[in-house]
């Protein structure tokens, strides 16, 4: 089977200067393979390393990979800088996107799109065609037009920030997206709009990894597999029905089987 992402025995630590050796281990041997075109979900208790996994995959400087490998489209992902990963087609929708005072949203989006297009060997978009495209996509996300004019995420509500993430994803056209609790803090309508935004990217060549705590998002986005991440490792893999079972029974049954 053709894999877009293959994680093997991944160990990673967060850099923490208060500790003696400066590293706090978070991921303790993650194995995860995602075939091209599939949607996988990661669920797991708080503090199990879900967000850390997404940061490690996108190259956050606060994390250090201590062993293991990550292959993305047959390339060594861990050797790439965050911008190279984005150009290669990886996208992370952040759980809490940062605010960028003084950076205009439209300028930021256009710079991002053109950086990625340039790196992919495509022609850059001029201001007019970019704005046309951005306005259309923003409209699809029920995004007020003035949000392109405002500074990135400054004064945005929680829902607006998440929609801005989906807008970025739609513009950057990734082949693999990680959605880190993109559904958290969204009302029912916003959840549907965001899910539709993600679904609009679906194609046989698009894969995604969705981190969530709730079954509700999975009413809109149909996963192929659900993984349970606990204590820094994938401890269980199941089909789409697993999320309903977890909602009823919680993680206790699965956690009982894991050793530290």
């Amino acid at each position: 089977m053709n894999m877009i992402l293959e994680i093997k025995e991944l160990h990673a630590s967060v850099i923490d200067d208060t500790l003696k050796n400066g590293l706090k281990p978070i991921l303790k041997g993650v194995n995860l393979s995602i075939p091209v075109g599939e949607t996988h979900v990661i669920m797991g208790p708080n503090g199990s390393g879900k967000s850390s996994l997404s940061y490690v995959l996108s190259g956050h400087p606060s994390y250090k990979v201590t062993s293991g490998s990550v292959t993305f489209k047959n390339q060594n992902l861990l050797k790439m800088s965050p911008d190279e990963r984005a150009a290669a087609g990886l996208f992370l929708a952040f759980q809490s996107p940062v605010e960028l005072p003084g950076v205009n949203n439209a300028n930021f989006l256009r710079t991002a799109v053109n950086s990625v297009r340039k790196a992919r060997g495509e022609s850059e978009l001029d201001a007019v065609s970019f704005l046309k495209l951005a306005r259309q996509l923003a409209k699809n996300l029920s995004f007020p037009a003035d949000m392109l004019k405002r500074n990135v995420n400054v004064g945005f509500s929680g829902g607006e920030k998440k929609r801005n993430e989906v807008l970025q994803m739609s513009l950057l056209q990734p082949s693999f997206a990680i959605l880190d609790e993109t559904d958290s803090g969204l009302d029912i309508d916003a959840l549907r709009i965001v899910a539709e935004g993600v679904n609009s990217l679906q194609s046989p060549s698009f894969s995604s990894l969705i981190i969530t705590h709730h079954q509700r998002l999975l009413d809109y986005i149909k996963p192929d597999y659900i993984h349970i991440l606990a204590k820094g490792r994938i401890i269980f893999i199941g089909g789409p029905e697993l999320s309903l079972q977890l909602e009823k029974e919680g993680y206790a049954r699965f956690l009982g089987e894991v050793n530290e």
Binding site: P82, D83, F108, L172
Partner: protein, 417 residues
């Protein structure tokens, strides 16, 4: 020579004056020379010069002579005069000389603009070494009056410097800008040049009743040049003075601004952005004196320092006993982009009135790693991401400027190498 050496103090000045070939007669008659010799050479032991070292002034053998280089001047003007600026009335100076043929503001019988080369030792009453050093030369004094009888409301001052002799030249222009009652004026000054030279200018700025002045100063001179300015600004009642300085050029530069709020209900806003790299050193030293009630002063200085550069901010706000209801704010924010870059910051308040609102602060930091990562995760390469965040930091200051032409010019100057 002997006459000079008779003085007990200031021996270091003697060598500098000898280099500049001052005649014995001149040394005897000049009060400014006497001032220099009576005071020791500024060193880092004196409080005002604690963070900036003038030792280069002793090392470099400056000369007052310079060669007229028309090709350089033409090329420089072609670079500076963008379409937006071409039609703004301008004064062009080159190595401290007024260039009539390149200027579009000429001397006129109503004295709205005057050019004078005679010695003027009484020009502004600021007692410091660099002002005295400016005054010892028979050098250019340009006077511009903005009056309601005159159409001229916006002017462009271009100050060119060029090293074209075997010894670097020094020039010491004096500018006097007088804004008469009820007039709103705009001055844009661009400093540009190549090679090693020393520009030591002095400014005397007066705003009369209800006058307004927007002063933008840009230093994009060669990174080998030396620039020092001393500015005295006197504000009458109901005036509004807005100053913005963009400092990118020069190896060593120091900008001393003295703002004297003399009339009630006046406002002074003076911001600066320093963008330094390599071994550049730039010092912003200011003193605001609130003498009367109901005045405001706001200062915001931002430093963006990379490589081995060194930024200095020394700002003092002095509120006199009578200056009740003063509102004074002072802020310095420095962005250190390298482990070797350095900032010395000293915001000071001295308050003798009891019903005032004054604040000051300094913040020093690096670029936010989370913001950088966010931009990079969207495919933006590190250097571009860094540039975007730096621009965002600077934009806050530039957005306060009302004139869109000047805003654009500042953006272009910031982006240029």
């Amino acid at each position: 020579m002997s006459n000079v050496k008779e003085h007990q103090y200031g021996n270091e000045w003697i060598e500098i004056l000898e280099n500049l070939s001052f005649s014995e007669q001149e040394r005897k008659t000049s009060n400014a020379i006497r001032f220099l010799l009576a005071n020791s050479f500024p060193t880092r032991k004196t409080e005002e010069w604690k963070y900036s070292d003038l030792k280069w002034l002793k090392k470099i053998k400056f000369t007052q002579n310079s060669v007229f280089d028309e090709i350089f001047i033409q090329k420089a003007l072609d670079t500076i005069l963008t379409d937006d600026l071409k039609n703004v009335p301008r004064i062009v100076c080159y190595n401290g000389r007024y260039l009539k043929q390149f200027s579009t503001i000429q001397e006129n019988p109503n004295f709205f603009m005057l050019v004078d080369y005679s010695k003027n030792e009484s020009f502004i009453n600021l007692k410091n070494a660099l002002v005295a050093l400016n005054k010892i030369f028979d050098n250019l004094t340009i006077t511009v009056k903005f009056s309601s009888k005159n159409d001229m409301k916006s002017i462009l001052c271009i100050n060119l410097g060029n090293a074209n002799t075997s010894r670097p030249c020094v020039f010491s222009p004096k500018y006097h800008f007088h804004i008469l009652d009820n007039v709103q004026a705009t001055i844009l000054e661009i400093n540009y040049g190549e090679g090693v030279y020393f520009s030591n200018s002095v400014y005397d700025i007066k705003l009369d009743h209800k006058a307004q002045l927007n002063y933008t100063y840009i230093n994009k001179a060669s990174k080998k040049s030396y620039y020092c300015t001393n500015t005295l600004i006197e504000l009458s009642d109901h005036t509004k003075y807005k100053q913005f300085q963009l400092i990118k050029g020069s190896l060593f530069s120091r900008y001393e601004t003295n703002i004297h709020l003399k009339g009630e209900w006046s406002q002074a806003e003076f911001d600066a952005v320093q963008i330094l790299s390599d071994h550049q050193h730039a010092d912003i030293t200011s003193q605001v004196i609130h003498d009367v009630p109901h005045c405001q002063s706001h200062q915001n200085v931002k430093n963006i320092l990379s490589d081995f550069s060194h930024g200095v901010f020394q700002g003092k706000v002095y509120v006199n006993r009578l200056a009740q209801k003063t509102n004074a704010q002072q802020q310095n924010q420095a962005l250190l982009l390298s482990d070797h870059a350095e900032i010395n910051t000293k915001p000071e308040l001295e308050i003798y009135a009891d019903d005032v609102k004054c604040s000051h602060g300094a913040a020093i930091g690096a670029l936010d790693q989370e913001q950088l990562f966010f931009l990079m995760s969207r495919g933006i390469p590190y250097e571009l991401a860094q540039k975007m965040l730096i621009n965002a930091f600077i934009n806050e200051s530039i957005e306060k400027i009302d004139d869109s032409i000047i805003q654009n010019l500042l953006h272009q100057s910031i982006m240029a190498k």
